[in-house]
């Protein structure tokens, strides 16, 4: 839920902060236990019986979606209703939404539908409508696309989400250098 001001009038913007189910998922790569897996439906799923609560996925999510349970510390997030999809049902949020603001279906069809809807809204004069679908970023595309009005920042959506593993090479190079310096100092001291 975000507050915005349009044409001098206060207005309310709503957005569902669901898991984006990234094509290259930061949480999945970061998980040391292998608890986070890719499902047969393309979603990213945390197996609750494997998760050991280390919390590293929480800091590795480019969208700030994953969080830890306050009681036992294990990580939880939107499951893409893995259990419902397994028996052929649509995710609960899409089924329950009374205004059909949340839609579930084939990704390509939804992309086309979002483009059509944006064009319709633009024609109606809502020229601040954007389709959020960052396919050109290091997360390599997401499985939840959004139609929003105004600035992406107002919805907590990063314009260019960064997959944390892209920083690994730089950080490990620096770690290697640090190790050489450390060893050099110690050897030299004796």
């Amino acid at each position: 839920l975000w507050k915005a001001v349009r044409g001098g009038q206060p207005s309310w913007d709503f957005s569902s902060d669901v898991c984006k189910h990234c094509e290259h998922a930061g949480c999945l790569e970061a998980c040391p236990t292998g608890a986070i897996v890719r499902t047969e439906f393309g979603g990213v799923f945390i197996q609750p019986d494997i998760c050991n609560g280390c919390g590293y996925c929480v800091v590795s999510c480019p969208f700030g979606v994953v969080d830890r349970r306050p009681d036992d510390g294990r990580a939880f997030k939107c499951t893409f209703c893995y259990d419902r999809q397994k028996v052929g049902l649509a995710p609960a949020c899409a089924t329950a939404c009374p205004t059909q603001s949340i839609q579930f279906g084939d990704l390509e069809e939804l992309r086309a539908q979002a483009a059509r809807r944006a064009a319709t809204l633009h024609a109606r004069g809502m020229d601040d409508v954007i389709v959020y679908d960052p396919r050109e970023s290091s997360v390599g595309g997401i499985h939840a696309i959004f139609l929003v009005r105004g600035r992406l920042d107002d919805f907590g959506l990063p314009a260019n989400p960064v997959m944390p593993t892209t920083l690994l090479a730089r950080a490990w190079t620096s770690a290697g250098l640090a190790a050489i310096v450390l060893l050099g100092v110690v050897v030299f001291a004796f």
Binding site: A30, G34, L167, A171, A175, A189
Partner: protein
């Protein structure tokens, strides 16, 4: 983060001292400091996770792309290596094995895993989606290595050793930390990197002043005032701890700031 890094650096010192045929007392003290850290770290990790069994889940798989996995595995091998080195060097250990080759192997393993432990935490924080950590990804490993080294030298000294080599190590670590703080301050002023103002930033600054400039001055004053050496060790250890806590606090602040934009 702190215990593991300092223990890692202590193991490197122990190994190097062993191969340099330094005073056996120094080798023993450094090994004990490393071994204590090697026990404390997993205990702290388990208390973070909640249940001991959860630590075993860390070892279900080995994932090079997960820094957390690399760290957990390194810690296990490190703990094994430090205790092996300690046990093999006892009279019983020596009598049982009859050679020093195994001790040397344990020391080499300790040096290698110790180097990883002292530096990987920088990667652990750097390669994440937390803005302030990611912005400092190439700087954090160097900084953590230097402060770990200073803390390790300080700990071994406070455990009763007064070797010149430790003094040199402490001096080098303090010098690196001084340079690091100067570089960071210039960077922040230039606005190249983001560090939210607040408690975290002040803690990093204070920690740096202790591990860097203060430790350096105290080390240099040792020639005239011997007590300064112990104080330099305390400054390096305390500063290092405050520093780590500062980076954690900054990370939290930077994540919240990012979300509320």
């Amino acid at each position: 983060l702190f215990a593991g890094g300092a223990a890692g650096a202590a193991a490197v010192i122990a190994g190097a001292a062993h191969f340099a045929h330094a005073d056996p007392g120094l080798v023993l003290t450094a090994r004990i400091v490393a071994a204590i850290g090697a026990v404390v770290s997993p205990v702290l990790l388990v208390s973070d996770l909640g249940r001991p069994q959860r630590f075993l889940y860390m070892l279900r798989v080995f994932k090079p792309q997960s820094t957390m996995s690399v760290g957990a595995w390194t810690l296990v091998v490190f703990t094994f290596a430090t205790f092996a080195a300690l046990a093999l060097a006892t009279p019983i250990g020596r009598a049982l094995t009859g050679s020093t080759a195994l001790t040397a192997a344990a020391d080499i393993l300790g040096i290698f895993t110790g180097l990883v432990l002292a530096t990987y935490t920088g990667v652990l924080l750097g390669a994440t989606a937390i803005p302030v950590w990611a912005a400092n990804a190439s700087y954090l490993p160097l900084h953590f290595a230097a402060s770990s080294l200073g803390a390790a030298a300080g700990m071994i000294e406070l455990a009763g050793r007064a070797d010149t080599a430790l003094h040199r190590i402490g001096l080098a670590a303090a010098l690196m930390e001084t340079v690091a703080l100067a570089v960071m301050e210039i960077d922040w002023r230039g606005g190249h990197q983001t560090l939210p103002s607040g408690v975290g930033r002040q803690m990093i600054r204070f920690g740096h002043l202790f591990t860097g400039l203060l430790a350096l001055v105290l080390r240099l004053a040792t020639a005239r005032w011997p007590a300064a050496r112990a104080l330099a060790g305390v400054a390096a250890i305390g500063g290092s701890l405050v520093n780590r806590m500062g980076w954690m606090a900054s990370g939290r602040a930077s994540a919240l700031q990012d979300r509320s934009q």
